[in-house]
């Protein structure tokens, strides 16, 4: 199964696109707006979702044939890094990743309808929160319905339209329409208020479409997209909170000096950026592999998610401390990021399991006589 896609924008155009996304988020989703969202004082979640639809963000990565811009993994990375930097609320990751995945898997007939509905903002997706460990739900004898329950990332209250869930079944992945009766999503209250977690309850819920997955490669690809999106979110968010923290340190005076001038703190700040830069480049590796259709993409995406989410936890935690007393108050930003970081760390599968899976994939590549580290020079 190839995930290859050709790059349709050059570097300068990508930079312009990134800036345009950043500009929108800086104006619509700044710290004040996110804080108001946490306190239920605005509708940032749905306004952002509407705006994302209007601006075509939901189709950024999708093939042009599906009404998208064809940016592939590069698009996922670019958009999610900016969403992370601004701690944007919403169910972007599951919707973007599932749509991207559906554009690359074959064997079902709903592709056009589902992807069209995503681009137009009428459909949103949810995926198993622990996709890598998800156990198949029970299917009816004819395979037409599924029953059981599952914790999912998504269930997008801000999306006006229809929500679908990707559900693991014995033969592959079932797409289930959340109709509120046969398939229900109950929100799970979580520490991170910028994401939606839900419990899916299916009772003979009709299967809208089925993605067969005899060899597990389809599921692995979906996992790779989620991994990449979480890694991008983590890298972007880590950089976002680190930069905000440094700005704060320049303004905050102690002992008649800005705390940014204390060498012990300056060195810690430098270390944050060293860590972030490393994970940014590991993510770059995963993006290139996914966009090149490299057979090693699954390995690199998992390593990227593990590394980036851990770095994000480290950075966000140190940013609390670098803020001093206000660092762990509700009114400042660090707590928003540490909660998002801890959730990113837990999603998809534990980083321990992801690294073990990556080693399995490395072994497989070596057994097949393939090098996994080839890079142009």
């Amino acid at each position: 199964m190839s995930a290859g896609s050709e790059m349709v924008l050059d570097e300068a155009e990508l930079a312009t696109l990134r800036e345009s996304i950043a500009d929108v988020l800086t104006s619509e989703c700044d710290s004040r707006a996110v804080h108001a969202w946490l306190d239920r004082e605005n509708d940032l979640g749905s306004s952002l979702w509407r705006q994302a639809t209007d601006l075509g963000w939901l189709g950024l990565s999708l093939p042009e044939a599906d009404g998208g811009l064809g940016l592939g993994a590069r698009g996922l990375q670019l958009l999610n890094a900016e969403l992370g930097a601004h701690a944007a609320p919403g169910g972007f990751i599951p919707t973007l990743c599932v749509a991207q995945w559906l554009s690359h898997v074959s064997g079902f007939d709903q592709r056009e309808a589902l992807l069209g509905a995503v681009v137009s903002g009428e459909a949103a997706f949810a995926v198993p929160a622990l996709l890598e460990e998800a156990k198949p739900l029970a299917q009816s004898a004819d395979g037409g319905t599924v029953s059981g329950s599952l914790e999912v990332l998504g269930g997008v209250p801000e999306a006006a339209g229809t929500t679908y869930v990707v559900v693991p079944v014995a033969s592959g992945w079932a797409i289930v329409h959340v109709d509120g009766v046969a398939a229900r999503l109950d929100p799970i209250e979580a520490w991170d208020l910028t994401r939606n977690l839900s419990r899916l309850e299916c009772s003979n819920a009709p299967v809208v479409a089925l993605i067969p997955d005899g060899d597990g490669k389809a599921g692995a690809l979906l996992g790779s997209y989620v991994a990449l999106a979480l890694a991008a979110d983590s890298v972007g968010a880590a950089k976002g909170i680190a930069l905000r923290t440094i700005e704060y340190m320049k303004e905050r005076f102690q002992f008649d000096r800005p705390i940014a001038s204390f060498q012990a703190l300056r060195h810690r700040a430098a270390d944050l950026f060293i860590k972030i830069a490393t994970q940014e480049s590991l993510l770059e590796q995963a993006v290139q592999c996914l966009d090149n259709g490299s057979p090693d993409a699954d390995m690199w995406a998992r390593l990227a998610k593990a590394g980036a989410s851990e770095a994000f936890v480290f950075v966000a935690a140190d940013c609390i401390q670098l803020h001093g007393g206000v660092g762990h108050t509700w009114e400042y930003d660090p707590h928003i990021y540490i909660k998002r970081a801890r959730l990113n760390e837990a999603l998809l599968g534990s980083n321990r399991a992801l690294r073990e899976a990556a080693m399995g994939l490395l072994n497989q590549a070596l057994d097949e006589g393939r090098t996994t580290t080839e890079l142009n020079a």
Binding site: W191, D192, F255, F262, Q321, W330, E345, R352
Partner: protein
Amino acid sequence: MILEHKDDLKAFREAVRTWTRETAPPERAHEWQRAKGPELVEVQKWWMDERRKVGLATPHWPVEYGGAGLGLEHQIIMEDEFARGHSPGSEMFVISLNHVPATLIPHGTEAQKKTYLPAVAAGALWCQGFSEPAAGSDLAGLKTRAVLDDDHYVVNGQKIWSTNSMYASQCLLLVRTDPAVKKHQGITYLIMDMDTPGVEVRPIRKSTGGSNFGEIFLTDVRIPVANRIGEENTGWMVSQSTLASERGVLSFNYAERDMMFLVDYYAKARHERAAWLDDPELQREFMTLFGELQSLRQQIRVLLREPADAPTWSMLPSLIKVAKTTLNNRIHSFRIRAAGLSSQFIDPAWRAPMYEYLESFGMTISGGSNEIMRNLIAERGLGMPRG
């Protein structure tokens, strides 16, 4: 009944244990373990009332001020038994029962002692107005201004991180009375009634959403000169008595409870066959944390044995401060990873991993940030010169 055993430590311990078990049966521990905010205030007030009935509220105070003159060893036994008995905590009364007498007894007037010590012994909850938003770690950089007007000081300014200030009746307040001199001079120490006009307390929300400290806004607050502790502009010196009153007994109690919690956590994990028990990496990490927590208990015991009036500066309190706060953070970070995704769901259970983890970030700052501690260790402990 309990105090009569004060000369026989073994009997004293036995009496404290029996009383604790009867008064706050461990079977009811879940009641106070889940209390937060005002409910927690109620629990601790109730518990302090019970302690008072048997002379265990202020037994460490000098006899002349209504105490029983018990020593550190009695306090340790009490805290040990309270911890073992899973009794309610008393940290809300640390300022009332320790900071207030430590400040008033050496520096207060007779009238102040007669007014305030019995009230504190009877359950008055005090807070402390030392920190200010702009000062942070630079405590002496405080800017809250007090101007003498006849027999009152008129105070304007703002205090922050004042624990339980929203529930307190009085406040130990530091103000600037002379802005022209060096910062450590020019500070005066006052007692402020919290219901004085112009005092407004706004709770500060923490990252968990809860609040146990507040900001105190002071607008033309009139405090009688009679409420001054010590002379004008000697407040910094007086405040050293306040700050020196924490002797590690509270840390001791916390560390004891933390170990009991960690042992229970592990027993529960085994009982439930938690998945992490099968992961060698997490096994080793747990044992590392377990070892370090025991080590902390050993360190605190050494601290408690250190003479309060040792001639040389001791690194130990600073070493312990950094070690215990970072260990606490690491333990809960471990629990988050061990639990996996479910740790990210809001869980009202006592000591839920993510709740404790978020709370732990308060500890690495409050009571002298870990950065200040490292400065102290390097400069005073290791003799490394300031830059």
